[in-house]
């Protein structure tokens, strides 16, 4: 037998993506590409005021229009759907999918039109007349906490959704002992204080949301396509709301054009389209317009932080207090209430704080609800704490890198139990810092900055560390859904491998990375592995893609299922080759007895025997397919260091990013090319937040940034070339040693940007976003000069 070429190991290689051929040729199927005979279109009539009572709704003109199948008001929908469920344990006011007697944010749905054509549906929605009695809009969360200008829900005094929860030093269940914190601040040699705002953002996946629901009455079965990150959760929730069995629903996430956390939530539109399809017995399609997405898709962030840090003169932090106020908008959605709790948990950052206390209040306002957005609670924590470290460094006249170094959790202290409830799995923060300082040439950059300043330019440097919680699970951390992941691996009759995964990629490239893993595990070519996902009719179980969990949790489930099948395959091979299964090896697409290449059997030969086992080896079942659920024992905690250099135009105040260096440690990497793409995307969103993105509401509750004309999504010209580097600290939490990388870029880049702007202007802190007008005013207040203080005032 001719020797087969040796297959290269693929894990760790820059393998180009297997998803791409369909995507670069227009062959992918997104929700709006799904067409079903007889399909009708849904349009939502939305509130154009932020807060008010509905006096009346007149749908008569809409109903009479040619092509209109049906029109439903909130009362009609309430007869089909209970108030929406949430995934957190907090009490919440009833949230109807379509408003009944009051609207609480601009864009809330008030009526539903079904029509033969999307243009007709839009015309009909425009013909609906709603008479409102306007109420004052609650916009500022800190005024809202005083019940001003009004109270949105009578049962929630002072608009408090979550009145107060605490974590950290001296918090024991529901009791708090302030003595350790008080002692730290009483003994402090230096204290810094700062109010900061991590402002609201619009997630803005390029594909807006969309749903197609098809209830087939004679089968008692629904197929629902949705642009979602988690079709299995969708199936569970829709089944619960329609009061049918989960086995009566097939939920499909077809090609999904980005999610960034905003497509985790199960939305009113998904429930309504499903319920109305069931009511009418018709296939229905709803596709979100972008201007709808700005009001109807959850926003991210929106947290105010009051930070106090106590320290010794040598830079050692002795105590941290962080009081958080989350502006959650008008309703609790699936995970709304949980996101800011991640800010509490991750406020420990990369530091060994002797005492830390975080408190959190969540406040209702007349705005679009918030929920997960890339980073989801951790960028907020990173921003507040890293800015605090910079304030201390400035106060102590110390290099910000050196101050951080003095406070790191040492690398020999992992697993590290933080006082805010996390158990950091592994870390070497000093290594990441040093890698970044070297890669960026920190000392050289400082010299460059001084040279540019002597030319009259306004230039600053910023550095930030981050640690984030990824690999979501375990189930205790996700009590509403479970935190495991599932996979089924099958060696088909022809010897090729098909695997399903419960994660639901929408740009992350798991069809490639997971195929790399199985190709290596079985010793077969990449082309012989197919990864299926995103369809509850094909993938038996799953949780979904969020919280940077695909590789760490989904990848491990895949590996476990692969191991089971490989073991069984070895047994069949052993029976065929009359050898012991321990002596069976898998190499180059063949299975053989170790050291006896002449014994090699092709995968197809073993599979033929496994599926037609004559005779069936004793104690075995036919077939080569098995599944695994992986429940992680802990989260993973990737970390890194981001450095930026930024210049501010003296005449216009416009910030320009000159340099970005990112060192990220995500543990072991399966595909560095894909990891780079993930980090680039995260950096762009983190820098975008610092520099140009901001959701802005007027005092009347009108969204002022309701389209891409007003909400500044970053363009290619907004960024320089990102310089990426990695350190590798594997996690012990899973056998792959992989931590997760989807969100990392949004954590360090944002505070680094703000640090650089503050440094450039020579001020302690300029809050995000770095609006040119704001920066220009600071320059003007300095008499057009900047940073005129002595050099020692800055690092």
């Amino acid at each position: 037998m001719a020797a087969s070429p040796v297959l290269p190991k693929l894990v760790g290689q820059r393998v180009k993506r297997r998803e791409d051929p369909r995507l670069i040729q227009g062959g992918a199927t997104y929700v709006d590409d799904v067409k079903i005979a007889g399909m009708q279109y849904v349009q939502f009539k939305r509130s154009d005021i932020a807060h008010g009572r509905i006096r009346s709704i007149d749908v008569s003109a809409a109903r009479e229009m040619e092509g209109v199948e049906a029109v439903f008001t909130g009362k009609d929908i309430a007869a089909m759907l209970k108030p929406l469920p949430i995934g957190t344990p907090f009490t919440s006011p009833p949230h109807y999918a379509v408003a009944i007697d009051a609207v609480r944010y601009g864009g809330e749905a008030v009526a539903v039109v079904v029509a033969s054509d999307r243009y007709v549906a839009r015309d009909a929605a425009d013909a609906i007349v709603v008479d409102y009695e306007p109420l004052p809009a609650v916009i500022d969360p800190e005024l809202a906490m005083q019940g001003k200008p009004t109270v949105i829900y009578p049962d929630f005094p002072n608009n408090l959704s979550v009145p107060l929860i605490s974590s950290g030093t001296g918090v024991h269940g529901s009791t708090v002992d302030d003595s350790a914190i008080d002692k730290a601040f009483a003994a402090a040699e230096v204290v810094v204080r700062q109010r900061m705002h991590n402002h609201r953002l619009a997630p803005s996946a390029m594909e807006p949301r969309g749903v197609v629901a098809h209830w087939e009455p004679s089968k008692g079965f629904m197929t629902i396509w949705s642009s979602t990150q988690n079709p299995h959760i969708l199936r569970t929730m829709i089944a619960g709301m329609l009061d049918v069995g989960e086995s009566q629903i097939r939920a499909i996430a077809p090609e999904v054009g980005g999610g960034f956390g905003a497509k985790i939530n199960i939305y009113p539109e998904e429930y309504v389209v499903a319920a109305v399809s069931k009511r009418l017995g018709l296939p229905l399609k709803w596709i979100e317009e972008r201007s709808e997405a700005f009001v109807a898709t959850t926003h991210g962030r929106g947290i105010i932080g009051y930070l106090e840090m106590a320290a010794r003169k040598d830079g050692r932090v002795t105590g941290v207090k962080l009081r958080l106020i989350a502006d959650i908008g008008a309703y609790n959605m699936l995970l709304t209430a949980a996101i800011p709790t991640l800010t509490m948990m991750m406020a420990n950052a990369t530091y060994d704080f002797p005492a830390i206390r975080t408190t959190l209040t969540e406040v209702f306002t007349n705005k679009t609800p918030t929920d997960a957005y890339r980073g989801a609670g951790r960028p907020e924590a990173t921003y507040f704490i890293e800015r605090g470290m910079d304030l201390l460094a400035r106060e102590l006249n110390m290099d910000p890198a050196e101050l951080r170094r003095r406070n790191f959790i040492a690398k020999d202290r992992f697993p590290f139990h933080t006082q805010t409830g996390a158990v950091y799995d592994s870390g070497d923060y000093e290594k990441a810092l040093d890698a970044a300082l070297t890669a960026a040439d920190w000392e050289g950059l400082k010299k460059q900055r001084e040279a540019m300043r002597s030319d009259g330019r306004i230039v600053g440097l910023g550095l930030a560390m981050y640690v984030e919680v990824c690999g979501m699970g375990p189930s205790a951390a996700l009590p509403s859904t479970g935190g495991w992941e599932h996979s089924q691996v099958t060696v088909e009759r022809d010897g090729r491998i098909t695997a399903t995964t419960g994660v639901s990629p929408h740009g992350q490239g798991n069809e490639t990375t997971f195929a790399q893993m199985l190709a290596d595990q079985f010793g077969v070519p990449l082309e012989h592995v197919t990864i299926l996902h995103g369809d509850t009719g094909v993938v038996k179980q799953g949780i979904g893609t969020f919280g940077s969990r695909s590789q760490a949790v989904g990848g491990t489930a895949l590996h476990m299922a692969g191991t089971k099948v490989k073991t069984k395959m070895a047994k069949f091979a052993a029976a065929m080759l009359e050898a012991h299964e321990d002596d069976i090896v898998f190499e180059n697409g063949e299975v053989m007895v170790k050291g006896a290449p002449a014994s090699a059997k092709k995968f197809s030969e073993i599979a033929s025997f496994a599926y037609v086992p004559i005779p069936l080896p004793e104690g075995m079942e036919p077939g080569l397919s098995d599944e695994a659920f992986f429940e992680p024992s802990n989260n993973t905690y990737p970390f890194g260091c981001h450095i930026v250099m930024l210049e501010i135009d003296r005449e216009t105040g416009e910030p320009k990013l000159l340099k970005v260096v990112a060192v990220d440690d995500a543990g072991n990497l399966i595909n560095p090319l894909i990891v780079e793409g993930q980090i680039h995307g995260g950096l762009a969103q983190g820098i975008g937040q610092a520099m140009i993105e901001e959701v802005v509401y007027g005092e009347d509750g009108q969204l002022l940034t309701g389209s891409f004309m007003d909400y500044a999504l970053p363009r290619a010209i907004d960024f320089p070339h990102f310089e990426l580097h990695a350190t590798v600290t594997p996690t012990p939490v899973n056998p792959l040693g992989a931590k997760g990388v989807g969100e990392a870029g949004t954590l360090g880049s944002t505070p680094a940007m703000v640090a650089a702007a503050s440094d450039a202007l020579g001020v302690p802190h300029v809050d995000m976003m770095l609006r040119p007008e704001k920066l220009w005013r600071i320059i003007q207040a300095q008499g057009g000069q900047h940073g005129s203080e002595q050099e020692g005032g800055r690092p």
Partner: protein, 153 residues
């Protein structure tokens, strides 16, 4: 209803359209060419970019009746048989896409860019694709993809 005759990806199509029908809806709904996407409603995002008589245009900003007699190229018509267009190859080789939603429009915009400037600098590429949003990639690998394609020309 108005009658139009348009050459789309080399094939002449005759159709009746409402005067208000957008070109992007005509392509997607009537011709079933769903590779051209819709990402906004204000002509900012560029997901719907196609070539009209060889020049890139946002198909959400053009009525179908306006292209009567024109020649349109969409992403489905870019490859030559089994041979990918250099930009399609570039996007694949350089990981110039993640979710893929902006990709067809981004590629069509880049076709126009390279037609005007066959050897653009990085800054010229960044400027040239700034009519198109991508939320996934941070644009860096898209720049590499365009450079890859330019190198092949």
């Amino acid at each position: 209803m108005a009658q139009i005759s348009v050459t789309v990806n080399g094939k002449t199509r005759r159709a009746h359209v409402e005067p208000r029908t957008l070109l992007v809806h005509f392509l997607r709904e009537q011709l079933n060419l769903t590779g051209t996407h819709i990402g906004c409603d204000t002509s900012q995002c560029g997901a719907c970019t196609v070539l009209i008589d060889g020049r890139s245009a946002k198909a959400c900003t053009v009525f179908a009746v306006q292209v009567d007699g024109s020649s349109i190229t969409t992403i489905e018509g870019l490859a030559t048989g089994d041979r990918l267009h250099p930009l399609q190859e570039g996007f694949w080789e350089e990981h110039g896409l993640q979710c893929g939603y902006c990709t067809p429009g981004m590629i069509m915009a880049a076709v126009n860019l390279l037609a005007d400037n066959p050897a653009p600098t990085e800054q010229e590429i960044r400027e040239g694709i700034s009519g198109n949003f991508c939320r996934c990639t941070g644009y860096q690998h898209i720049v590499s993809a365009v450079q890859h394609a330019a190198g092949k020309k």
